[in-house]
Amino acid sequence: MNKAVNVRDIIKKNIKSKKNKTEKIMPNIFLLSASISILTTIGILVTLIIDSYKFFAEVPVKEIFSINLAPLSKNPSFGILPLINGTIITSLIAMCVAVPVGLTAAMYLSEFASEKSRKTLKPIMEVLAGIPTIVYGFFAYSFVTPLLMRLIPSLEAKNALSPGIVMGIMIIPLVASLSEDAMSSVPNSMREGALALGSTKLEVTLKVVVPAAISGIIASFVLAISRAIGETMIVTIASGSSKTLTFDITQSMQTMTAYIVEFTSGDAGIGTGYYSLYAVGLILFLFTLLMNLIAQYISHKYREEY
């Protein structure tokens, strides 16, 4: 049989020249790339542990878990509770903003918006996530704080409320986008089933789609918390550096991240104060690690099977 191009012959010729070496080397290069991030994580963790060990060796546990934080005084004290408190409170304020707004935005985008407006709105919203956090910090300090002062005259120039709110605004796209993904992946057949039973669109959304997507939604919340805990610039700029333990959100509070910024930009010197950075860093690392583990656990455990 005569064919225009003898494909069989060409294949026969070329199949031998395919290099076995490349086949073996390339996967190793891929593996190396994959290892880089893992090795970096391990490296960071080792550094944190070694240097914080020096800190923990010098400072008694009782002092670490006290409310007295005065690293620069003549009698330095390294109570970490004010920092943990500052971190938790600012993150909680952020979640109070991000969860309701992000979730309802996701419901709108996934269930109510037309295809066209979803395709326009979602990318715009995601741009919000791309703004550098220093800009958000500046926005919190020079715009939101003065605005809030009109409502709450007793508000201090540096306070926990304003950066908390702005952090919340910053993570709205994260919550909205991940929740929207979870809700959009709920099969349409379920919406149809509910509509055919006489449900309104709102009922379909709240009673069928959201419960079916709940694992993805909760995972987005947890990732948002971990993002808020790790956020640095906004709180450094707008929340100040008060080291007193307080639950009053109109006052200045320092977060763990802001503490690290303050001391790496010059004040720490060498000695216990310096090593305290690593201890705080380690605790921060454990916090976010815990959050990510919770997120993973939830998305596995509450994954609705359909």
Partner: protein, 260 residues
């Protein structure tokens, strides 16, 4: 308004008059005229793409969910035109239940699936809900298989059981009509057989319209058969007549397997 009696003609549940439907510019249904009568099983057959699914989804206006759909003509349901602006879609759909091609239980427990309808329509009483669940599951011939695991996830059931659960879910809001869109196409022969037996029982209390791909199924379970081809209703009469002495050549060609 959408209940039995009143201005409705006796025995006629649906009276479709001059129904046309377009997806964008493609006409999917052309001048359909047909009556669906009370406590009968009406089968709708035809090759893929003939408009049979579209037609059945028009009866509870599920086609409204597709933005590009336009319709003209009238569908009287117990004497009321369902395209009328005063008709509340949610209300229509509570009296006209629907079972879909693929079983689509909610990712909730068996119990929660059945009582979903009653719950959103305002029944809160636990005891009442339990009674509804039992009754509906019994009517759907599923009770004996699931009574000991009502609170397990519905997705642990087999495909056939899931489909009967979906039927139970529809029955729980006590509809007049059940629309079934190829309800056995995703099921094995044994599960199919059970659903067919169930349909035979259900027709004593409900009016049923069923779209089916299988002519044998239509012949087995239906009283009336409508044959659709390329958006047109070619022939509609007693099932027996359609399968023995069809009037139209195209119907005969289809049921004898010459195309489709």
């Amino acid at each position: 308004m959408l209940t039995n009696g009143g201005s409705s003609q006796n025995g006629v549940v649906y009276d479709v008059k001059g129904l046309n439907l377009w997806y964008g510019n493609d006409q999917a249904l052309k001048d359909i005229n047909l009556k669906i009568e009370e406590n009968e099983v009406t089968a709708i057959i035809g090759p893929s793409g003939c408009g049979k699914s579209t037609f059945i989804k028009t009866l509870n206006r599920m086609v409204d969910n597709i933005p590009i759909v336009r319709t003209s003509g009238k569908i009287f349901y117990h004497g009321v035109n369902i395209f009328d602006k005063t008709v509340k879609l949610e209300e229509l759909r509570t009296t006209v239940g629907m079972v879909f091609q693929k079983p689509n239980p909610f990712p909730k427990s068996i119990f929660e699936n059945v009582v979903y309808g009653p719950k959103i329509h305002g029944i809160r009483n636990k005891k009442q809900l339990m009674e509804i669940a039992e009754e509906s599951l019994k009517s759907a011939a599923l009770w004996d298989e699931v009574k000991d695991r009502l609170h397990d996830n519905a997705y642990g059931l087999s495909g056939g059981q899931q489909q009967r659960l979906c039927i139970a879910r529809s029955l729980a809001i006590q509809p007049d009509v059940l629309l079934m869109d190829e309800p056995t196409s995703a099921l094995d022969p044994i599960a199919t057989n059970r659903i067919e037996e169930l349909i035979d029982e259900l027709k004593n209390n409900y009016t049923i319209a069923i779209v089916t791909h299988s002519m044998q199924q239509a012949a087995r379970i239906s009283d009336k058969t409508a044959f659709f081809l390329m958006g047109e209703l070619i022939e509609f009469s007693d099932t027996k007549k359609i399968f023995t002495t069809p009037e139209d050549k195209r119907t005969e060609d289809y049921i004898t397997g010459r195309f489709g």
